[in-house]
Symmetry: C2
Subunit: 421 residues, 2 copies
C-alpha cells in the first residue's frame, strides 16, 4: 500500500487523487475536439486513444479498441488484457521509465485542467440497489416504525430495481428539477407540479466489464467487475411516495443519475478490500462471499447554495454496505438475466450509523422534520434551486490516495411549463 | 378498411396475417446467412436490405440505414421517411405495379417459410406497465381483497417499472425455468430453488421510434411510436412474491420477455384506433388523450403441453387497456427521462372481464386454486416444463387482417445446478 512513484511529479503528492497507483479511465476532449479515451495521472491525462493510434501502447494488437468515445470495447477484451494494459502503462509512467516512454507520454497527454470530461463508458443498462442497511433501516423507520423498518426479505436478498440508463450523466452536467404527480395526504386527487422534495443519494457504482448469460457465483461476479465510480441517484421523494406502490420507483428516479468521470479500476482498489459486515441471518449459498468484496473508501458530500460556500453535510464509508457489488451482480444473474459490458450497478444509498453519516437529505433531515443548518446559516430539508451537490471519495493508502474525481451537479429550477416549445 | 390487393396472390387472402395493408418490419436470415431487414407480404419476405443496396428502394438517399440487423437506423429517420418508404413499397407491391417493380421484388424476396426470424430491432431499454384495469383488479383482489384491489394511485398514473432489455428475445427462442429465492409462508428462511409458479403475461409492446429529451404530450408521444408487437412478459410468481417489496419486481421478470418477430407499424393499425375506456377519475391534463390512442386488436393465447395439441386458454382485446401506449410514453417523460429509439414499452397484462379473457395463469387459475383443464385433459395452474405458449394477435378489417406473427416459446426444465460449468 505504498505510493508508486512516477516521473510525472504531480502524481507523487499525497494530495493528488491520481497517483500512479490509481490510473483511472475516463473520456476527455480539449477545445471542443473529438472525444478520446484518457488515463488520469497527477495533473495530466494520458491520451490513450492517441497512444493506441500511434502504435505506442495497444491494448489489442488486432483492433483499435480505444478509437471510441467510451471504454466499452476495451472492457470487452477481458481481465488479462486489463492487467496487461495497466502493467504496460504503469511501466511507462514509473519513475524509472526510459526516455522513449517519457517522450511518448509527453507527446500524448494533456493538462487535466484544460480538458472537458465526458461519460467514461456507454451505459448499457442501469440497476440500482438498496443494499445499505443503515439507509434501509432509517427509511423504513420513518415510514413504518423501527420494529418493521427492514422489509422481511432484506437480510436475504440484495434488493434492487432496474433504473434508466438514458438518465445517467457525467459529473458537472446540470440537473433540472422535475415535474411529477404529487399527492398531499389529505387531497383527493394528485396535482401535476414541480417536485418539492428533491434529494440526493450517495452511492458507489460498479461497472460490469464482462458479459454473462447464466447465473454466476460471487467470485465470478467479482471477476466480471471492471471498476467503480461515485454515483448520485437524484431522487424526487414526493413523486416517489405517490408512485412507488406496488411496482417500485419509476419517474422519481429517472430525471438524472450523476457519476464521477473516472472509472477507478478494481486493480487500483485491490489493497483496500474489506469484508461485508457480519451477517444477521444466514445467506443462501449463492450469495456467500469467498473473500473480502467491499472496499474501504471514505465518502463525503458537500452542498453549496447558489453563490455560497460549500458545507460538508455527511461523511461515511463504502464498507457500510451490507451487500457488495459482487453479491449484487451474482443475485442479478440468478434468473438467467443476461448481463452486458457497460451495465452499471448502483450500490444503494450508503449511510453510517451516526446522524451526519447519512447518505440522503431524507435521512439527514429525517423526512424534513429536522432541517440541516449549513455553514451559511441557511436551512435545508431538501435541495433548493441553485444548490450544487458534490460527492467525494478516496481510498487512503500510505502517503497516497485513490480518488474518483468529483461527482457534482447543480440543481436548475423546474421549467415553468414543461410542454412549452 | 378494405383489402389492398397485391400482385403477390398469397397477400390477398383473408387468412394471411400479412396483406398489403400490413407490411410489417422484421429481420431474417436464410441458410444461416447474414441477418437482413425484411418486410412480410403474404407468404414472402421482401429483402429490404437488398433493395436498398441495389438502389431500388432507399429510405435515405444518403445512407444505408437497412445495412444492419435491426430497423433502428430506419426508425431514426422519422415519420416522414417512414411514410414515404411505406408508400413506395406499397406501390411496388400493389396489383397495378409495373414490371420493373415486380422484377425488383421477385429478385429481392424470399419465401417466409424458408427464413429464420430474429429480433426486429435493437432494444434500447425496456419498460413494462401495469395498465390493464381488469388485470390489476384481479391481482389486487387475490392479494388484498376486492375493496382494496386497485392501489390508490392506479386511476391517476400509468404504473410502470423498468425491465431488463437484455432479457428480450424473439419468438421461438426457448425459455429456461429460472432459479430464485422462494419463501414458503410458514418458513423462517427462503430457499434457493427452481421457480414453481412460472407464468405468462399477455401484453402488447410499443416501440419508440423517435427520441425525446424533455416531457412530451400524449399527441407527441403517439407520433414518436413506430409500431407494435405482441409481448409475453414471462413471470416467476413465487420469486416475485418474496422479492417485490418494497422496490418492485426484479429477478421475477428478468428471465425472458418474448416478442413477436414483426413490427406492425402504426400506419397499418391506423384504421383500428379506438379510445380508452371511460375515465373513472379525472386525469391530469398531461395524460388527456387528444384522440383514440388504443387499437382494436383481437388477442388469444394457446398452451400446448409437450407433444400434445394446443388449447386456447384465453381470448381478449387490446382495447381492454385503461391507458394507451401514448399515455404511458407521455408519463414516462414527465421527469425529464430521456427516451431513445428502440425503447420498448410493455402495455401490462391485458385481461377482459370474463374468466377466460384473463391474460395470465395467475388470474386464470386464481392463484392456483382453480386449475384450468386443457383439451388434453391435463390441469394447469402454472406452466409445466415442455409447455409451449403462443400469443396470437390480429386487427380485423373488411376481408383482411393485420397479423403480428406468432409470439411463442417453449419452457425448458430448470438447470440441475445453475453453477455447474
Amino acid at each position: 500500500m505504498m505510493l508508486k512513484r512516477s516521473w510525472i511529479e504531480s502524481a507523487n503528492s499525497a494530495q493528488t487523487p491520481f497517483p500512479l497507483n490509481n490510473l483511472p479511465y475516463g473520456v476527455f476532449s480539449v477545445d471542443e475536439g473529438d472525444l478520446r479515451c484518457g488515463v488520469a495521472i497527477g495533473d495530466r491525462i494520458v491520451d490513450a486513444t492517441g497512444l493506441e493510434a500511434a502504435g505506442l501502447l495497444r491494448p489489442d494488437p488486432h483492433a483499435d479498441v480505444l478509437d471510441a468515445p467510451y471504454w466499452n470495447d476495451f472492457m470487452e477484451l477481458g481481465p488479462d488484457a486489463w492487467a496487461a494494459y495497466r502493467e504496460a502503462l504503469t511501466g511507462m509512467l514509473a519513475e524509472n521509465a526510459d526516455d522513449a516512454a517519457q517522450d511518448a507520454i509527453l507527446t500524448y497527454s494533456v493538462k487535466l485542467a484544460e480538458a472537458e470530461l465526458h461519460l467514461p463508458f456507454k451505459v448499457s443498462e442501469y440497476t440500482d440497489f438498496y443494499a445499505g442497511k443503515n439507509h434501509a433501516f432509517n427509511v423504513g423507520t420513518m415510514f413504518r416504525g423501527p420494529e418493521n423498518a427492514l422489509p422481511p426479505n432484506w437480510l436475504s436478498i440484495p434488493i434492487g430495481y432496474n433504473g434508466r440508463a438514458s438518465s445517467v450523466i457525467v459529473s458537472g452536467a446540470p440537473v433540472r428539477r422535475p415535474w411529477g404527480q404529487l399527492k398531499a395526504p389529505d387531497a383527493d386527487l394528485p396535482v401535476f407540479a414541480p417536485c418539492k422534495r428533491f434529494d440526493l443519494e450517495l452511492e458507489m457504482g460498479a461497472i460490469v466489464g464482462q458479459p454473462s448469460s447464466a447465473p454466476v457465483t460471487v467470485a465470478e461476479a467479482d471477476a466480471m467487475i471492471f471498476g467503480y465510480v461515485l454515483l448520485n441517484d437524484w431522487s424526487a421523494r414526493d413523486i416517489q411516495a405517490w408512485e412507488y406502490q406496488p411496482l417500485g420507483p419509476f419517474q422519481a428516479k429517472a430525471t438524472a443519475t450523476t457519476i464521477s468521470p473516472w472509472i477507478v479500476t478494481k486493480a487500483a482498489l485491490e489493497p483496500f478490500r474489506t469484508p461485508t459486515p457480519e451477517r444477521e441471518r444466514p445467506l443462501p449459498d449463492y450469495l456467500q462471499e469467498p473473500g473480502p468484496m467491499l472496499y474501504d473508501i471514505d465518502l463525503s458530500v458537500t452542498l453549496a447554495p447558489d453563490g455560497k460556500k460549500a458545507t460538508t453535510i455527511t461523511r461515511t464509508n463504502y464498507r457500510e454496505m451490507y451487500y457488495s457489488a459482487a453479491q449484487q451482480l451474482a443475485h442479478h444473474t440468478t434468473s438467467g438475466c443476461p448481463m452486458n459490458v457497460g451495465d452499471l450497478l448502483g450500490s444503494g444509498t450508503i449511510s453510517g450509523t451516526g446522524k451526519y453519516t447519512r447518505g440522503s437529505l431524507l435521512e439527514l433531515s429525517w423526512g424534513g422534520k429536522e432541517p440541516l443548518t449549513l455553514d451559511s446559516g441557511e436551512l435545508r430539508s431538501f435541495l433548493e434551486d441553485g444548490d450544487t451537490l458534490t460527492l467525494h471519495g478516496a481510498a487512503r493508502g500510505d502517503g497516497y490516495q485513490i480518488g474518483f474525481g468529483e461527482c457534482t451537479g447543480t440543481l436548475l429550477p423546474a421549467l415553468e411549463d414543461p410542454y412549452a416549445r
